[in-house]
């Protein structure tokens, strides 16, 4: 019992952290209906900023004009509490810029778009933090802690430091402050009004924009405080760690239905305590055997609560009829990649010049694209390329499958899943088990990897039967986290997967990978043309209408998850053969998020999206990295991708869709006129008068 009690302070502090993150998330969600996945990364960015001020930051400004050199070199160093207002101002500025230039164009966007946009911001903030402040972890020494780390009290073996006490106190004060803010201030009332009903609130004279600005500014400042506090508390932190903490904060927030502060705070404390207490006992019993167990159990608890669907959870969340992946009234959708999608281009050009060019030529063009692709892919290694090309080439084929996996589950089935990284890890683990434990001959371990992924994908698909949009995104993120913590650590660099003797050369392996990728590709392409592929798109566009025509949502979704998982696992098995062992950097949560975003840019609904994405985000950066050997530019790649995604999505609404309409009307003169409907209905009626041929 005393042992249990001794674990409690640690649990409560962790819980306080989750509660704080959950409150910030609920705050922004209430006012803007945006689930802010950038919260953790923003907290990290502010924390890095703050501690760089505390440690002294060099500022250099130099001008060269008319042979005169003007230079200012200064080192800014502020005491801890002196730097706090500056850091808060910085957080407020970032929050304001975010609202003004990023979130405002998406005010009426579907949930999926908001998830993608804030994930992109999250990647952007982490990359910026590391670009500006160095890739190393932020370490807070004792002298710079927010409160002294000396022991404050000790009751019967239960010890707490001033820092722990202070953090819990601050979080509770923050909760109380929020409570009073919402209950008793005019702005708080306006926020509540907007949270209840945007349109009614704006009709009553509440400025929705102002409320949204206030929410982002204050929410970001809260993220900043949280970041500074967390950096101090965790001692050694980095953006991805804070992002992961914010996922647990999300779990707490979503248990509170994204609207209830008390439930979110309670859930945050509960999750933190549960995790820490279990971690204590696990580390005592057998850390290697039970690694990831606490996360696994906690994820299970969260899923069970969500699956029970208590009324309060779903009251505050927009439950949307369609997935929002493709086109809604708002015009903002995830088909960013259609700007560069050859399939879409082909359709457009064909719509414009369909009559001019004979169908035989069209068929030729249609055939030429895949033939050309295969020819280039086959010939690539035969070119006299420098040695550093071979590894990126092989990796590109694997990235191809990773994107294809996203295309199937997100682009076609319309389920926002961030579990692909986990399937890559599982595929690798399956191949390893197949080769080293079951001692299967060569191609079979890959099959083991795929087979292993199927029950797992059904398992992760099960919550998807009852959860959609935000809930599903969070559950799959947590699942990815559990796999990252529970599966990846079991395979150290020492667990080697031997290639068969005839595949030791990377160039030969390339052809084997090409065959694997081609099979997966052909499968997906054929699938999209069959009844199941059509059922996917029907479920994506409207589950209700789909079921009215007899499409079974349960079976369809599970099939989609299994196929997507299988493709991801194939990629993972291939990856493990390529690398020789399972490596944690491929297959974690960050891996999933990065590749989901890059899939969106490349074309999440297109069969050619994976080709474009793998070349643009796989081959090109890997090769340039190999060529330049310039490790310090690595962070620009996610920065470019995430900025690109936001910009393209913001200008997307009428982009190519209107262009398509323009081209069509020019050629076929099918303008939608007022009377056209009437004529159509009348002629349909007269058609039907003919005796039934049925």
């Amino acid at each position: 019992m005393t042992e249990f009690l001794a674990t409690l302070p640690g649990g409560l502090v962790t819980g306080a952290v989750y509660a704080l993150l959950a409150m910030g998330l609920v705050f922004i969600y209430k006012a803007t209906r945006v689930p802010n996945f950038a919260y953790g990364a923003l907290a990290a960015l502010v924390a890095f900023f703050h501690y760089s001020l505390v440690n002294g930051r060099h500022i250099g400004v130099h001008f060269n004009a008319l042979f005169i050199h003007v230079g200012v070199d200064a080192t800014v160093r502020l005491p801890f509490w002196g730097a706090i207002p500056v850091s808060l101002a910085f957080a407020a500025l970032v929050g304001y810029l975010m609202e003004r230039f990023v979130m405002r164009p998406f005010a009426r966007a579907p949930m999926v778009t908001n998830i993608i946009i804030t994930l992109a911001l999250s990647v952007l903030f982490s990359a910026l933090a590391q670009q500006w402040f160095g890739a190393n972890d932020l370490i807070v020494p004792n002298g710079q802690a927010i409160f002294p780390r000396t022991s404050a009290l000790s009751i019967g073996g239960v010890k707490m430091s001033w820092e722990q006490l202070g953090v819990i106190g601050l979080v509770l004060a923050f909760a109380a402050g929020l409570f009073f803010f919402f209950r008793f201030t005019e702005t708080g009332l306006a926020l509540r009004a907007v949270a209840t009903d945007r349109d009614v609130a704006s009709l009553q004279g509440v400025s929705v924009r102002r409320v949204s600005t206030i929410a982002w500014v204050f929410g970001s400042m809260a993220a900043g405080i949280a970041g500074v506090m967390l950096a101090s508390l965790i001692v050694s932190s980095n953006p991805s760690l804070l992002f992961i903490l914010s996922i647990w904060g999300f779990a707490a927030a979503i248990i509170g239905g994204m609207i209830s502060f008390p439930i979110a705070v309670g859930a945050g404390f509960a999750i933190g305590t549960l995790l820490e207490v279990m971690r204590h006992y696990v580390s005592k019993a057998d850390p290697t055997k039970f690694v990831g167990m606490p996360e696994f159990v906690t994820l299970g608890a969260v899923i069970v609560i969500l699956a029970l669907r208590p009324r309060w959870i779903f009251k505050g969340i927009r439950e949307e009829q369609d997935s929002g992946v493709v086109s809604r009234a708002s015009g903002v959708d995830l088909r960013v990649g259609r700007f560069i999608d050859p399939v879409e281009m082909y359709r457009l050009v064909r719509a414009a010049f369909g009559q001019v060019i004979p169908p035989r030529v069209w068929r030729l063009i249609k055939l030429a694209v895949p033939v050309l692709l295969v020819a280039v892919a086959l010939a690539f290694p035969l070119f006299p390329l420098p040695e550093f090309w071979t590894f990126p080439l092989n990796l590109t084929l694997i990235y191809l499958l990773v994107i294809l996996s996203f295309v199937v589950v997100v682009g076609w089935l319309g389920q926002i899943s961030l579990a692909t990284g986990a399937f890559v890890a599982i595929g690798g683990a399956g191949a390893y088990i197949g080769a080293n434990f079951l001692h299967l001959p060569f191609p079979l371990p890959i099959v083991t990897g795929i087979l292993l992924s199927i029950p797992v994908s059904v398992l992760i698909g099960l919550p998807a039967l009852r959860l959609r949009g935000l809930h599903l995104a969070i559950v799959t993120l947590l699942f990815g986290l559990v796999v990252e913590r529970a599966v990846l650590p079991r395979f150290s660099a020492a667990s080697v997967l031997q290639r068969p003797s005839f595949l030791t050369s990377d160039r030969v392996l390339y052809y084997f990978f090409l065959a694997c990728a081609a099979i997966a590709f052909a499968f997906a392409w054929r699938l999209s043309k069959t009844r199941m592929g059509r059922a996917f798109r029907a479920i994506r566009d409207s589950e209700v209408v789909a079921s009215a025509y007899g499409i079974q949502p349960v079976r369809t979704k599970l099939t989609g998850f299994a196929i997507s998982g299988g493709i991801g696992a194939l990629g993972g098995a291939m990856l493990t053969y390529q690398l020789g062992s399972i490596q944690a950097q491929y297959g974690g949560v960050a891996f999933s998020i990065t590749w989901l975003l890059q899939s969106v840019v490349a074309g999440i609904t297109s069969i050619l999206g994976p080709v474009i994405g793998a070349v643009a985000f796989g081959l090109f950066p890997e090769v340039s990295q190999g060529a330049v050997q310039a490790a310090h530019i690595t962070f620009w790649e996610p920065i470019v991708a995430s900025v690109l995604i936001i910009v393209i999505m913001a200008i997307n609404p009428e982009g190519i869709a209107s262009m398509a309409r323009f081209l069509r009307t020019r050629v076929s003169a099918h303008d939608v006129e007022d009377d056209e409907d009437l004529d159509a209905i009348k002629s349909a009626a007269s058609e039907l008068k003919e005796p039934a041929r049925v």
Partner: protein
Amino acid sequence: MTAILSVKDVKLAFGGVKALDGVTFDVPQGEIVGLIGPNGAGKTTLFDCISGYQRPDSGTITYYENSGTVELVGLPPHERVTHGIGRLFQQARMFPSVSVRDVLRTVQHRRMKVGLFRSVLGIAGAGAEERDVAARADEALELVGLSAHADKPAMELSTGMLRLCELAAIVAVRPRLLLLDEPSSGIAQKETEALLPLLKRLRDRLDATVLVIEHDMPLVMGLADRIVAMAQGKVLTQGPPAKVQAHPDVLASYLGTRATASTNGKRR
């Protein structure tokens, strides 16, 4: 007269609101039955119960097939198509991003029997089945005059065209019982007038029974063989259009005379 659908004492309350308060009526086979009533009468809720999106608190909804009877309460929505029940929604939308041609292939989901792997590989009759489905889709499109729009995504169609697309879907699926929720909604008045002969001919062609919710009185009175009038979750009266139209309770519930308050209060 044999009934194809028999609704018995269906009740459904949302909190304190009794959306359906003991609804009972039969839909005779081969007829067009119009369901009318003011807003909030429970028409769409009843449709949701029949098509499985809502589960009534009590009561039965029985469907008579050629081979036997099916209890619809508790049957998931997607199982209804296999029994020959089709539904159109109040807001025509179909699958917005899917091309019209593919929409009409998608709706034939349950007609296709070849499994996933066989259809992907294109073996064991997959090709023939796919061709059959495609042919039927094209035939239905031609029938409603949408062939020229076959390659457009459904979201680019106007509301009237979307209705036609839905009706084409019905032609392709060939249900025995068709549930239409306000076919005239979102369509201009003169188009509604054109809709009347279209719906009648569709029925004749499919030889289907139709249960239709409609607010447009001339349309529903011209269309239906029989009218069921609802108000506040109850059936007010039912019978031939002329008789129902003249019924004082129906007039009262639509025009809101003082009689509504008093009769409703007294009688139920």
